[in-house]
């Protein structure tokens, strides 16, 4: 199969169709939905999830997972916020996020890869530790009313397009190139298919897994930079549903949770669909407390549908399961 930068398969076309249907239904349901202001809001709210989702795509494709990404973004956001408050130059402030994120990714990788601990349990344990760390660092108070130093990232436009869009495009292209045009991508997908076979084929499994966790951490940290630029505060509950959102978006996009198969463009479409639904339901009058229910239901529903359709096509071909 050829993989162009934006080449789409059936799954991704149907996601695009789902986005279109959602937009149509929600515009009919709420007069506030189909406005240019709201479109900008949806896109602005998608920035962090897009970056975190790209990292999560790599992790899931490798057969890994990280449920601590939301809190990692929180920790990085505290670093960015403190740098911002100290009036450091903008490039240093902006880079504080990715650097802290990458460092935390290194820590996660050390526990999960070197400790040979299942990623889900290892990152759940780290999630607890990080959550306490956030509380201790914030001392029970929000970072709020931060200076406007980072708004250049969102406000500045080049050729009419905000810088954030360029950053995301760059991150997407970098991930795409790494996955589809370098040995690293092949190694990563091979590990996702079977870690044992990858090891036996001489793939540097530990190195690839380490790099993937660090890259995911750096992307999460970059998301923190944009979070601070966008909201100019860091609250205690920051990122509490980000991990679920990211996993749901990536799975919606067609990346296999068992590893070995991934779709970056699917992740982008999954993020957009998720944010469109969340925004639209809010405008229709569904309280925001329902959001995790909707996201979780979407995750389970899509997976169940996938199984149902694959079983149908298998039985039509005269195959039976197992």
């Amino acid at each position: 199969m050829r993989h162009g930068v934006f080449s789409m398969n059936g799954r991704e076309w149907s996601l695009l169709a789902a986005c279109a249907v959602a937009i149509f239904v929600l515009s009919v349901a709420s007069p506030y939905f189909a406005t240019s202001g709201n479109a900008a809001t949806i896109l602005r709210n998608s920035v962090e999830l897009l970056l975190v989702g790209l990292g999560m795509t790599l992790l899931l494709a490798m057969g890994g997972i990280d449920v601590s990404v939301g809190i990692v973004m929180g920790l990085a956001a505290i670093g960015v916020g403190r740098a911002l408050g100290a009036d450091l130059p903008v490039p240093i402030t902006a880079l504080a996020g990715p650097i802290i994120g990458a460092a935390l990714g290194l820590l996660t990788a050390t526990v999960v890869v070197l400790g040979r601990v299942p990623a889900i349990v290892g990152t759940l344990g780290l999630l607890g530790v990080y959550r306490t760390a956030i509380f201790v660092l914030l001392g029970g108070q929000w970072l709020s009313g931060l200076p406007t130093g980072l708004t250049v990232l969102l406000g500045t436009t080049v050729l009419g397009i905000p810088i954030a869009a360029y950053v995301i495009a760059l991150a997407y292209l970098a991930m795409w190139t790494a996955l589809r045009r370098t040995p690293f991508g092949l190694h990563l997908l091979a590990i996702g298919n079977s870690e044992e076979k990858a090891r036996l084929s001489g793939i540097p499994v530990v190195k690839v897994r380490f790099i993937t966790f660090i890259v995911s951490g750096a992307l999460t940290g970059l998301a923190a930079t944009f979070y601070v630029a966008n909201y100019r505060n860091v609250e205690m509950t920051i990122g509490s549903t980000l991990a679920l959102d990211a996993i749901a978006a990536v799975v919606l996009g067609g990346t296999s949770i068992l590893g070995g198969r991934c779709s970056l463009i699917g992740t982008v479409l999954g993020v957009l669909l998720l944010r469109i639904l969340q925004n639209g339901l809010l405008l229709v009058g569904v309280p925001s407390l329902w959001q995790p229910v909707v996201t979780g239901g979407l995750l389970i529903g899509v997976l169940a549908l996938e199984v149902a359709t694959s079983r149908l096509s298998l039985s039509q071909l005269g195959w039976t399961r197992k």
Binding site: I65, V67, V111, G115, R116, V117, P118, I120, V121, G122, L124, G125, L126, L127, G128, V129, Y130, R131, T132, A133, F135, V136, T241, L244, I247, A248, V251, I257, L258, P287, L289, W290, Q291, P292, V293, T295, G296, G297, L299, I300, L303, A304, V307, A308
Partner: protein, 318 residues
Amino acid sequence: MTRLRTLQGPALILSLLALLWAIVIVMLLALKPSVFGLSTMTTIIQFSTILALVSLGQAMVIMAGGAGIDLSVGGIVSLSAILTMLFLKLGLPPLLLPVACILIGVLLGLFNGILVTKLDILPLIATLGTFFIYSGLALALTGGAAQSGVPAWLLSWGRGVVLGIPVPFLTIAMPAFAFAGVVILWTAWGRWIHAMGFNERSARLVGIPVDRMRLVLYGLSGALGGAAALISVAWLGSARPNIGQNLELESLTAAMLGGIAITGGRGGVGGVFAAVILLVTLKTGLLQLNVNTVWQVGIVGALLVFVLLADRLSQHWR
């Protein structure tokens, strides 16, 4: 210490946990001598009842292998408690409250089991999804408000103490653990659970109904979550939508500490029980020392990572 090396399996885990427990107690006594009275012991057991039940279900699910894990336990506890109280308001006879609570837990657990066994969804993703659905529903249905209106007779059961031991512990947690221990040690079901966790393929080949067994275990985890919800309602006098918060982390830590292998096929319920007591003693002690509760989640998380690493290292050294 030399004798520790000769111990194996459950005995080793139990003696290690007892050692850790003694260390925790001595440290707490050194820091604040007035910590331990009879009332503190009652509090510790009262708090551990909920965690013990949930951890038991978690342990059984993990033991049965197939990457089994139940991340939704906290959501099951919250939602069972909330739904039961909402049904009570809709006219459910109060006498049926205990049955309804456990039944709702069973249904929520069976839903997990169906996702895992019938639809072949990876347990960690399936239960991560239901975790957010269940705990989200508990919050969304109530707007975050606690639901009161628990009948008085239930309160007297939930808050009763006999010889310094809380009644719910005597009537639910102890029988549950005794029953689970007997089943795992001396019945075919117990052998099946260990066998399917140890090697699922062989278990299927010798004719063990792996999928049905796993469905039952997820249902059981749900039932124990429902029982934990019942105890929380009867003890606190209201159903709180966030009562199950952090239970997935704590029950996993208890199961791992108690010697359950994350890959399945190894472990028993005695270790899990000892681990629950250790965890709750630690938490209660920190509370008595006026350490902020947010430290608890960090300490439990660090303990989980530490146990996992220690488990790997010990296998490495063997």
